[in-house]
Symmetry: D2
Subunit: 291 residues, 4 copies
């Protein structure tokens, strides 16, 4: 297939490389064009519109709502450039509001819109081990699945409304943040009773909490190694805010998210915004007077 | 070894049966004595003291602080009956305050005290698959380990201060409660965006959240099957309170625990105390106006 | 002065009547034009622009951001119609974001913008007893003060940045909501200990809490008379959201506001949106299992 | 009347002086006996029991539950020393649990027990301007009222159950703490929008919030003058805990109290325990990154 790929960051580059390996023709665009070289075999496009013209399908994998909005709706955006019948696959973590607006705009142009955010880090993307959460019209999702298989180990289809996939992504990140926050509280408590943090985490991850997510974040919380950041706290705050916005739009109170937003804002205000978001656990330690 | 076993409920019976199978001489006591029959091979004792006299070691596996206090410090309690040098293994989920008092009382009698709460349900106890978290003097813990192995798959030693093991148990239950609460919020959010709850849970437990605890509680939250209760909400509330009390005693704020206590009290006040504690997730659904 | 008055609701009508009494020429516009009759002596305008053309000053007193945005920026809005040098006085409770955008837009037209939200109910407006919180350029505020004096008992000037006045209004409403919420919790607690609610409120308002706000809301909370609504809970929710949005924009966590938003959303979801916002206190009573 | 007065701190001394002025015979006891000299005309007693023997009535005005418990139930406590028919008036801020236990113990001795906590600072006590909240048997309260009138400007009777008065005291302190917390949040918000704190407080206390409590604490929060402490933060934390304990015993969630306890523990852990409890407002400022 002819694929436009918008957004060659760490994640996007790995995903695009796998699409190239899968024998697709990839035209890639990135704000700082030099990064396109990280996808050997891809053709560099001067603008999103250049990438999109004549494509069967366009992926967007960008930092936030503002970036996606510019690439889709801006001058030289893909909305005007994609052919009728083409599919826009949005893989970024974005607001439900923007996702809904894109769905309607593409519909209005006779195009299709699939929401397909991914879970996993760049290394997983390279290894084809991402988890893909997809939602959209059946036929469109079906066309995408072989593409998802180039960078993902499994695709979970959440129905026909693209927004559903965005909310699952936001809910997933909310659950990860909750694990960080609750481990922060639990480690602060046990430390005060002379339990060695790593011993506590080892117990958890060898018993009922034997999930990758507890191993990754438990290790970070126990060791307090918050640099270099795998995912920056200020981006984590952005995602908590997106979850809260999704809750507001649907009248769903999310008290744990409220609590974490307050802690994350406090952390950013006090110079922790560029640490890994597992540094949220420092707040509980500070509250307890530790260190 | 000669073992006194105090408390033949669902968990205690399974643990005691495994001790009998391990060729130990078990004298068992329970408030309603009939239940001792559930441990074939055990000798029924008329009082805790009768069970404890002459024993090498006494297990307590009881419902709450009040029950443990009565069995240890009461008339006919084990404190006065256990021989010098004997070990009291407290496997119940109790307060750090009571644990500390028992430690001191046993020390004063030349006895030893090991805290060894367990994680797992009765079926796991029967199958010898519990996780045991132990703390106490090295030699005492060492003597207990073969006994723990009769009902547990693994023992995690948390140091020499018995209270450490109690706090790890409370922190573990706090983390489980947090998973219920956060799944409740996440499912309320995704339901409002037309995501089918079981599909959401399947995604979680097939990807980053592939831990037993997410499978068990995710299934309950998705299906809203809160009866029969595996662990009653009112007992869950008790454990949240114990975690908060441990936090208070050590000056550790636990804001998620505060939030869950408020929700659990509300749930009990509104007739949900005898449901499974995964019913805490109903609060988030009610807040969202679901059902 | 020639004054345009946009928004003849209960509050706007009372304010505009006082301006007429103060010998000003008032051209009034309201979405449902019939209500303009409630301001004898005012000239009905067909559109906001009609009211604004040739005016020295325009007041907006409307329900929410959307209404203000339409009246200012819409076709037939006042932005294009007001003469150079004219002043727009925004008295509505609106977001800091919209206030900032209006300030810039008026500046761009050589007009002035004063933010002047008011505290008090329609009866107070009629009696000239409102409290006015104003911010904007010194000369502009000075010109407005005699007008404010027609409907207000006192004007508090908060500096030159119009947004300051909006935030003071939002902070004031946040404090009122907090009084409702905290009285709800306190009355739930004391009721459970057999204290008669009105006796408790009488004590408070005869001693340290002898402020109008405690008398008004204490009486409502004690009597549980939530209809007719003086100020609807769904509007209170809107204002809590505006305070939170102001906090978000300036990185200020407001945990009590988070808590009240969750309670207010729950209340609206459960059919209480049209009750007086003192009905927020029912949430605490429900949590306690009362009634 | 013959009056025993137990606890000659700043408050107790002022109250006892007024009883002496009212021509009552006062036998006073204090842990550090020297302070009894601050009550000219009072007779120093060597023990609580010495003070209580032969008395018609005994006041206790002590720091906390432990002090009251010792003075009432201890060796040389008043319980054994007071004559039949005498009244114990407990004016301290104590737990409902202790109040209930004292009521029962005095009943068992044919004595009466009146709960009568007071609101106000030492200067108000000296000036006879305290507010007294009383509960107990009608005849006992009636006998006390002339005594209350020597140091109080008004007595509010809350019924026959002494515990009611304790809960009203705890609820009152909870409301004061909430005012501090909410002013802290509101001032943090408005400061970020360039509103001068004192101007904001002046507005509040000249309009809807014209209560003594807003003037006192608003001034402290605006000026950030937290020393010398009128009422120490660590004592404020104690009272928040007592309110929460009263809530727990009656199954009443108090989410604002939970939030304030967490903030107060954090404050004490970070060296603010001896500041005035209005320093709770610093937490909101720190969260916002102010200073």
């Amino acid at each position: 297939m002819k694929i436009a790929f918008l957004g060659i960051g760490n994640m996007g580059a790995a995903m695009a490389r796998n699409l190239v390996k899968g024998s697709h023709e990839v035209r890639a665009w990135n704000r700082t064009q030099a990064r396109v070289k990280e996808v050997p075999g891809a053709i560099a496009a001067a603008t999103p519109a250049d990438a999109a013209r004549g494509a069967d399908l366009a992926f967007t994998m960008l930092a936030d709502d503002a970036a996606v909005e510019a690439v889709v709706f801006g001058n030289d955006g893909i909305l005007n450039a994609l052919p009728k019948g083409a599919i826009h696959v949005s893989a970024s973590t974005i607001s439900v509001d923007l996702s809904r607006r894109m769905q309607k705009a593409h519909e209005g142009r006779g195009q299709q819109y699939v929401s397909a955010p991914v879970f996993g880090r760049p290394a997983a993307a390279d290894a084809g081990q991402l988890f893909v959460v997809a939602a959209g019209a059946d036929d469109a999702v079906k066309k995408c699945e072989p593409l998802f298989a180039t960078f993902g180990q499994k695709t979970f289809v959440m129905g026909n409304d693209p927004v559903s996939a965005n909310v699952v992504k936001l809910a997933g990140n909310f659950l990860i943040a909750t694990i960080i926050e609750s481990l922060g509280e639990a480690v602060a408590l046990t430390r005060k009773y002379d339990v060695e943090p790593q011993a506590f985490i080892d117990f958890l991850t060898s018993s009922l909490f034997a999930a990758p997510i507890f191993k990754i974040y438990g290790g970070l919380v126990a060791s307090q190694q918050f640099e270099p950041a795998g995912f920056k706290l200020r981006l984590g705050l952005k995602d908590i805010r997106l979850a809260l916005a999704a809750g507001e739009a649907a009248q769903v109170p999310l008290p744990i998210a409220d609590l974490m937003r307050a802690n994350a804002v406090r952390a950013v205000n006090n110079g922790m915004g560029d640490l890994d978001w597992s540094a949220l656990s420092k707040i509980a330690a500070e509250n307890a007077g530790l260190k």
